[in-house]
Structure formats: C-alpha cells, structure tokens
Symmetry: C2
C-alpha cells in the first residue's frame, strides 16, 4: 500500500464552513477521477490536508495531478511522532536516493506538542542519515543539496517524503457554480479549462468531439448538454456562456444571438500564451 499527502491552496483562505464544503467537493472529484481510471483508493481528511491510501500510488498520483484544487502532492511514509521512529524512517526514505558523494538536508515542521523543536528534529534525522552514509562521502548541504528529506509531524503521527509533485492548483470543480462552454476548437477547450480551474462546473455544448477529448482528461464526469447554448445557460442556472474567441474574432462582430452573458477568458492573451497554455493542458 502507498500513502499520498495531498495539499490544497486557495481554499485554505476561506472560512471553516466553506473549507469543509470545498474539501467535500474536492474529495468527490478526486474519487471520480480515480474511479474513471479504475483506481481504488481511500481518501481521508486530516488537519487541512488529504491523505490517499492506494495500492497503485504512481498511477494514483498521476491522476490526481489533473484534479483542480490540488496544489501539490507527495508520496509519503508514515510513522509515530517518536524521534527514534522518525530517525529510522528518514534513513529508510533517504537511503535508496543517495549516491556516493551526494549532499542532502532534512527539513522538518511540526504541529502539536512534542518534546522537540522542528530544528532539533531535523538535526537528529540528519545525523541518522549522515552517520549511516558518511563512509560513502555523503554530506549535508543546507543550500543546494541533491536531496531534501521532508519530515512533517502532526500530533502523534509523522510523515516523511522527498518530493513535491505539482497539482493544477485552482479551486475544486463545481465549488463555484456552473458555466456553459461551447466546444468548437482548442481555444474553446482552453477557455473552458480556465473556468473549470477557477472552480466552475462546465456544461459542454460539444460541436467537436476530438477537441472535447482534451477536457475529458480533466473532467471525469463530463456533462454534455445539447441545443442552443443560450437556452442551456438559462435551463441550468449557469451564470454564463464561455468561448475561447480572440480579439480578432470579436472584432468581426461574431454574435451568438443570445441574451445571456458571454465570457471570453482568452480575450487578453496573445497567440503565444494561448499556445503555451494549450500545450500544458494537452501534455
């Protein structure tokens, strides 16, 4: 079994009630994304972090990196908050990652009441690793180490890891209401993606199935609607229609013949920026 620590960012700023709601939406989206990939996992909320237990940690991490609202995640190992346990686990985590002559450092943080400070803990865990590997020329470098071993202590449990994997950030999809997204080309897909990242549930009016596939990697439960987009906005109480049109297209006075608000998240972007962002979401 593997354990993942999942961090979320923006919602940390909100009130406890809003945060609980966001966490619920995020957890739901995580489970839906994993279910789509046929990955079984158990998600638990603790201390404003989420912990995911799974027997396929690599694939689970890859999938979660496309769940909006997740700012980063780490493969972690867990032990008690006792110094001797943490020393042993830090050594276990570090050993396969240290080459002859490697440099490392330990970074510790803690929350709760413990008989040690974060700095003392980092020094102790660092000593354990150094003593075990000094014959190989391994040494501490606080500024530009080859390896950082992170220790995070929360009350009676400690988590040790060596890497932060980026998530997409943003807010959990669906936590901020609905928009209707017209999907005709890749620019439209990017516009929808940006609103999804801002927390909107997108209802898709799909005119191009090929393009829609870009978004299906990001939305495990894509909701498609048919008929005129303006009607779909009203029928679903969405707060507007989203398209990826550029300034050029807008100047040609393209009109959608609709009374609902129309949003153009790409209107202020140049082609280079659009291409760069598209590459990221298609990658």
């Amino acid at each position: 079994m593997g354990l993942l620590l999942v961090r979320y960012a923006e919602m940390g700023l909100k009130s406890p009630g809003v945060r609980r709601y966001f966490e619920k939406v995020l957890t739901h989206n995580m489970m839906a994304a994993l279910a789509r990939e046929r990955l079984e996992a158990f998600v638990e909320s603790q201390y404003g972090r989420l912990f995911v237990t799974t027997d396929r940690p690599e694939e689970t991490a890859a999938t979660l990196r496309r769940v909006f609202g997740i700012s980063s995640l780490s493969h972690v190992r867990e032990c008690s908050s006792e110094v001797k346990d943490i020393r042993r686990l830090a050594l276990e985590v570090a050993t396969p990652l240290l080459k002859d002559g490697s440099t490392f450092r330990v970074e510790a943080r803690r929350n709760g009441v413990h008989p040690y400070t974060s700095m003392q803990l980092a020094a102790q865990a660092g000593e354990e690793i150094y003593e075990a590997h000094k014959h190989r020329g391994v040494r501490v470098d606080l500024h530009h180490p080859d390896l950082v071993v992170y220790v995070e202590v929360r009350d009676r449990r400690a988590y040790v890891f060596s890497e932060y994997l980026d998530g997409p950030g943003g807010l959990p999809m669906g936590s901020q209401g609905k928009v209707v997204a017209l999907i005709r080309d890749e620019r439209d897909a990017l516009a929808a993606w940006m609103m999804m990242k801002r927390g909107c549930r997108a209802l898709f009016v799909v005119e191009n199935e090929e393009t829609m596939r870009i978004l299906e990697r990001w939305d495990p439960e894509p909701r498609k609607v048919s008929g005129p987009a303006g009607k779909a906005v009203q029928a679903n109480k969405a707060f507007g229609l989203v398209v990826g049109w550029s300034l050029d297209e807008l100047q040609d006075n393209i009109t959608l013949n609709t009374d609902v608000p129309v949003y153009h998240p790409l209107v202020g972007m140049g082609n280079e920026e659009v291409e760069r962002r598209l590459k990221e979401i298609k990658g």
Copy 2:
C-alpha cells in the same frame, strides 16, 4: 550618441501592407512615449527592425521597454560589413565586459551577400577577442559562456551587441481598434492593460485617479472619456467595455446596465496570477 535596435514580434507574421501600418503605429507610439519623458530620438525602419538614435540611450531604452509591440531591444554599435571592421568592433564591445578568466562566445547572423558565412564570421570575431585577452585566462565556452557577443550583419552594415532587453511584447496600441475601459481598481487597470497589449487603444472612464497612474506609464497619450461607459462605447465605435471583475463578482450578478459587449480578461485567472501580473505592470 547611442543606437538601439528594436525588435517586434507578432506583427512579423502579417502581410507586408499590414506590417507597414503596424510599424507606423508602433513608431508613433515610441515617439509619443519618448516625448512624454522629454527624450529626443530619431527612429528609422530597416529590414523589419527599428533603429533608434538618441543621446540618452539608457533612459530611452527604459522608456521603450514599456511600449507595446516591442518584443526586445539592444544597445548596439554599428560598423561596415567588412570583416576587419567587425573584428575590431566586436573586440571593443567585449573588452569592458570581460573579467580575468571569463568565458565568452560570438553569435553571428547575416542577411545579404558577403564573402563569409555566419560561422566563419563568428570564428573570426571570436579569434580577435581571444587573442587580445588570452593572457588574462579568457576563453571560449560555446554552451554556458559568461558573455555572448552578438553580430548581426544586414547588407553593408553590421551591428554588434551583448544583451537583449525584454519589451512587453504584444501589438502596437491602437492597431487593433478601441475599447472603453472602466478604471475603478487595480484589477480594472490590469484588464485594460491586457487589452492595450493586445493592440487596443483604451478610452478610459476613470473613477479612481490613483489607479489610473499605473496605466499612464504605459500609455503616453491617455484618452479619458466621461459619462456612462456604454454610451462611450457607442459614441466612439469601440467594440466593447473592459472590466477586471473576477468570477466571484460576476456571480453576484453585478450589472452595468448596458447593451454593449462587456469583456472580462481576468475571469479565468486566480488571485495569485492577478497579483503576479499586477506586480509586473506596476514595477
């Protein structure tokens, strides 16, 4: 006197007629920006580049870095396209920039008919610099040199420089039509800035003079309009109204009581991105 080579990017993609028009608009904007800072300069177009002659090159460069449409610029020195002249000038440019033990490389490109290839030219200029400084331990490093000396040959003239300074990029302000921008807070200023960078002339409805000052650094001839923003759009044949509202504000059903199109370039951005971009334009 100093000479600046100014490069523009996106417009290079357009047809020759459109490019000439863009170059005219860009040159006008450059002159207006310099006039505002009381800098005298002479701007000349050649081979799809602009050359600026000025007796205050540092201040002129700083000002031009806020002119939309400029992708980069360089302080250059000029000589004939003869190898011996280029060798001498490359050495003159490099000498004050080389420390004992520095590494360097010469990068050459050319356009026109010459008795040398770009690679031969780079090798020759590199040799000149190497021979003059080898007693100080200066040597060539093609991959990570401390200093790059650039040589650009255009027909009978050559330009030598050592640095690319970024411009804001985008398109020349005014080359893509007009928008009306409502300026109430910094987000509004950023939204307007993005449309200006896309080539729009912004007509400002200013409700906050302090905020307007951010934009005056980017628009040397700010045009302010008064009265209802919707009316201003129609009266000036602008193609819409621009505001910096976020998704949250839009969900509150704020309305401007207007029939004209309203654009929200920031609708797909998170707070972090807005803050980062604001810092850039205020910096």
